[in-house]
Amino acid sequence: MATSSHLLLPQALHMIPRIPSKNLGVSSLIPSVNSRISLSRVSLNHSSSNVGFAIGSRKRREFIAKAEESSTVGEDTEAVPEDVAETVEDNEVEEAKTPWKPRTKLGDVMGILNQKAIEVSEKVRPVPEIRTGDIVEIKLEVPENRRRLSIYKGIVMSRQNAGIHTTIRIRRIIAGIGVEIVFPLYSPNIKEIKVVSHRKVRRARLYYLRDKLPRLSTFK
């Protein structure tokens, strides 16, 4: 969206000199115009031309109303219904436009997709709340192993939130060597996640465990 804002500024600058009138109505139109433009780059040119047209027509209509008002006092009543008629027209036109759904902005798309994917995954297997410092046991189905489920136990060193690819990093000392495995939480291969216990930690990422004694990373 940085590029679109870059394009936005010349458009805005270009538009301002075209509106020399002091009409409050027109100036109030500008913020709404801006918000409409920020939606997408594709419709940028399209909307700007629309706006230009709209402002021009608004100006013309207001000018006509002014002229009508200024001509005779007696025709004030006529001028007023004209104004009212115009506003009613505007409202009608706007109402014909507004009953559509609120448009999903481009920036929200990934968030919505991730939420949907997580919902689907949660239906199959609900994921418990896992935080750093939990000692968990994960039952994994490995297509290579084919026989039984592999069991991975260990302390959660970190949790990286990234929508559907939210991962946790498990550390454990296996056969004398420290092993760290990163598991995607919502993977269909994971058959079960169970929080066995919890250790009090004062950090979000426990990378210091790598330098510490193996005793601290051993879990029976």
Partner: protein
Amino acid sequence: MAAALASRLTKGRSLLGGLTNAFSGLVSSSSGSILSQQQRTFIQMGTRLKVVDNSGAKEVMCIQSLRGKKGARLGDIVICSVKESATKVDVKKGKDAIQKGKVKKGSVVYGVVVRAAMQKGRVDGSQVRFDDNAVVILGIKEKKTDEKGKEKKQNYKGGFNQPLGTRVFGPVPHEMRLKKQLKILSLAQHLV
């Protein structure tokens, strides 16, 4: 402060660490934060590796990676030179028995990397990394020319499937199955 920054510019990694302080959570994925830990990389010429079988060697130095331009990863085969081997005092009998006189210091051997400090991604989205680098020796590389001066045939094209030793220590990853090192898988104490 500019001078300090400039001096930091010479080291590629620390510059990144200093500038992307706020974004280190996003930038560094699962390989550990760049600020406090070193980025684990490939196994290349000069890397010392631990030997985890009973072939006779203890520590080995990689002199060539047979796969990958930047170096070997978990499961790749490397050519190594033995830097330290088991002395005569060590176990001679029993299960742990060191294969007599198989690998001596200075000999050039082929080995497969069974544990790497660099993370290896798997198809299901998980990643695995160990705390050390380790090899299992597969075969001894013979000299090109015979004693008599004739050129001997090199036979490494066939692929190495049989380790030299009879035991493997420590955990072994599933990647061995993909690399057709089934014997090592069967000898392993623990499969990761």
